[in-house]
Symmetry: C2
Subunit: 453 residues, 2 copies
């Protein structure tokens, strides 16, 4: 019952906001919205149906507009941008950090992009262009070129003087980076060590050169894995010549981890993690339709298998009653194996070296479950239809289908991954195509052999 | 094709390790393993089949044992603990941070817990007992009581003197907390502000009192949401009297976010996020069996529906061929709605205030998809069976089942949540129970009315 009594701040805010909106007085709504952090405003906007969403978006403080745009999914972002004129967009995005701006820029109209670039000073424009020159989903695209560097051959007091002169540090600065004269990355010095050592301590005594820098071409997934394996808050990014070119911070990594999670959960249902809860009906319909058509095709294959056995069913209608059970249980058992495999592949825990051991384990689990469930189902059938032959047929067919489901659950995602496809997306369709068709085939085929001799 | 060419460090390590293990020379394995961070070692151990797992676990440096235990799932942890004698366990865990120890302690044998408590000094023992006194999945259980506090009425130089005397800061210290004489939380001062301001600056000029402290009873999910909404690295935890009692750090929050994600992805298949990839066959079988039995029951209900129409099927066997398509497409369409709803509920984006708007949107999507898919399926059936009546029946039945699937996809998780159950876990079973049974019922029922008059 824990779920129900949990604090649920967002849902509470949503209710208050919705009540205020319904009452039509926008003053309280504006006050309520602008006590929230940009990410919270983004979350609220995502939860509002069209109409209400535009009203609330119009009430958000202009200075928060840019940060809110950064914190919503792509579809919702498009719907918000559609409500803004070019000047508003430019005002909203020009104060964003380079990494956030890079994330946003592709969703902006081309004319606006030009204006934004023109409004930036030369240094920032070059930085943005550098970040945009790297492929999406790589470290280069996630980094912020704004880093604080120091030399190793000075003492703490020199660094502190420099920092006081500088006046402010980028968000999430837990380490300063030590570089050579040619700006090569040498190591890092924590702020914690600066404040816990005497002023006269030389920096080179405090340098941690154990943490490897992130390669600019590394994938976003790999970056996220390293951050969570090493508990980093920030990490330096270097190019092929070990020149320090930027810094990735934990806030962006948390966003990646959330996106990965949603990708796996929604991907299994053929949806995109950027799907808007309230996307326009036509758009939602078109997207879902693709998935349903694929399912129609696989269902058609399964129906064709059944069609081959029309004669058998005609002689024993009980087969039509029971065949969905064999297929359905196979699908369910296979989905369990699949969920484990997709997670294992995402974490890099499954590969050529252990897939055989895994398949062997899953086959044994499936055999035991198949024999047990098959026996139970066989007994039910015996009581229901008083037909021992039918009982035997469903017992064997279910066991076979569970074994097949386990093999498919292990091998389909492995194969998709090897072929370069995303196993989180397409595995489920293939799996149920196999468990349905083969479930019908073994059950009806065996019935034809055993019962209609 | 991006997936295939991505760097995949863990999988590469796994392969190297596996080759080294197969060659039987343990020296290289030991060297390889001990270059890794504890979380990486944990990840590798999770990916190894029994046998190999024990061998590698025996090669891990003793000083890393505790951290590795913290970083593996509960099931794998049990399998690792089973290989250790009490003295080894005590040596492994006694240097852990209080929050990590609290996380681990429930999996330890009772006798070992007593020994561990005895080996701790009084202050740490009291701290551990305090943390353990809070319910699991609350802020109190996540916090570390080790915090650095300062007074507001001093200057930076006094704080720096104190910190240099102290010598070390807890991991992820980005802010010091300002407290009153009675240890009430007043605000926070960033290390960044300490190093960017002159020594003579009074602390009260630097205090940020905007960030609210986390209430000790707040749920872990809510803590995670606040961290990612506000981009925090650490946050103070207070009791009901606003007394500062601990601090939560981003590393634990990242673990929560990962666990939430796995909970949603694996929960949909009736699995636990702590499931070991290589859990013993008997254990895996028992756990899956529960899920399969529930599925057997719902499949049985659906089979019973079909059983009511044996006479109809007997007269027109084509119905048996087509009925799985109606049921299956309904299940797939409903699963899509469900995935969106479960995510929305997890993010607090769906509630009483917008569920009606959401249902209305999903019903319109379902109606359009139903009419379109129904027309396609109707045409196929016309070509296949040359029976216009059958064509009409499947057109209406599919449209009805998609409408039903959309309603079930919205309402089932809402209802489960309201009743205090976890919508990520049980929604799928109920959904397919409804789409199967009602899919068969509308299709076969309509067929009886229309075709057998």
């Amino acid at each position: 019952m824990a779920e129900a009594v949990r604090h649920d701040k967002t849902a509470r805010q949503l209710r208050m906001l919705s009540d205020a909106l319904d009452s039509g007085r926008l003053g309280p709504v504006r006050r309520l919205v602008n006590t929230l952090a940009p990410a919270e405003i983004g979350n609220l906007l995502e939860s509002l149906p069209p109409g209400k969403r535009e009203v609330v978006w119009g009430l958000v403080d202009q200075e928060d507009d840019g940060e809110v745009l950064v914190h919503v999914g792509e579809e919702v972002r498009e719907s918000l941008l559609a409500d803004m004129d070019p000047d508003e967009i430019i005002a909203a995005v020009e104060d964003l950090d380079i990494d956030d701006l890079a994330d946003l820029v592709e969703d902006l109209p081309d004319t606006v992009i030009d204006e934004v670039l023109k409004s930036m000073d030369r240094e920032n424009r070059e930085r943005l262009e550098q970040v945009l020159s790297y492929p999406e989903d790589t470290a280069g695209r996630l980094m912020n070129p704004d880093v604080v560097t120091v030399r190793a051959d000075v003492n703490i007091d020199v660094v502190l003087r420099y920092l006081r002169l500088r006046g402010e540090l980028p968000d999430h600065t837990d380490y300063l980076y030590v570089v050579s004269r040619r700006h090569q990355y040498l190591g890092r010095v924590s702020l914690a060590s600066l404040v816990t050592h005497e002023d006269s301590t030389p920096i080179n005594r405090l340098v941690d050169d154990e943490q490897p820098a992130i390669d600019v071409g590394e994938s976003a997934d790999e970056v996220a894995r390293q951050f969570s394996d090493h508990d980093w808050v920030s990490a330096p990014v270097v190019d092929d010549n070990n020149i320090l070119i930027g810094r990735i911070t934990i806030d962006d990594v948390v966003d990646i981890i959330r996106a990965q999670a949603e990708h796996q959960a929604l991907g299994a249902a053929g949806l995109d993690e950027d799907e808007d809860l309230f996307s326009p009906v036509w758009r939602a319909m078109r997207r879902r339709l693709v998935w349903l058509f694929v399912n129609l095709c696989t269902a058609f294959v399964a129906a064709n298998v059944v069609g081959q056995f029309e004669g058998t069913i005609d002689k024993l209608v009980a087969l039509a009653v029971l065949m969905p059970m064999v297929a359905g249980l196979g699908g369910n058992a296979g989905t369990q194996v699949l969920a484990l495999m997709v997670r294992g592949l995402a974490l890099g825990q499954v590969g050529a070296s252990n897939v055989k051991a895994l398949l062997w384990k899953e086959l044994r689990v499936a055999l035991l479950n198949g024999l047990l469930m098959g026996a139970v189902l066989g007994l039910i059938v015996l009581v229901w239809f008083h037909n021992p032959g039918l009982s035997l047929v469903i017992f064997i067919a279910l066991t076979c289908n569970l074994l097949l489901a386990a093999s498919a659950g292990v091998l389909i995602p492995m194969t998709l991954k090897r072929l370069g496809f995303d196993p989180a997306l397409a595995s489920g369709i293939f799996l149920t195509a196999i468990t349905d068709s083969m479930g019908f085939f073994t059950f009806l085929g065996l019935a034809t052999l055993v019962l209609l001799r």
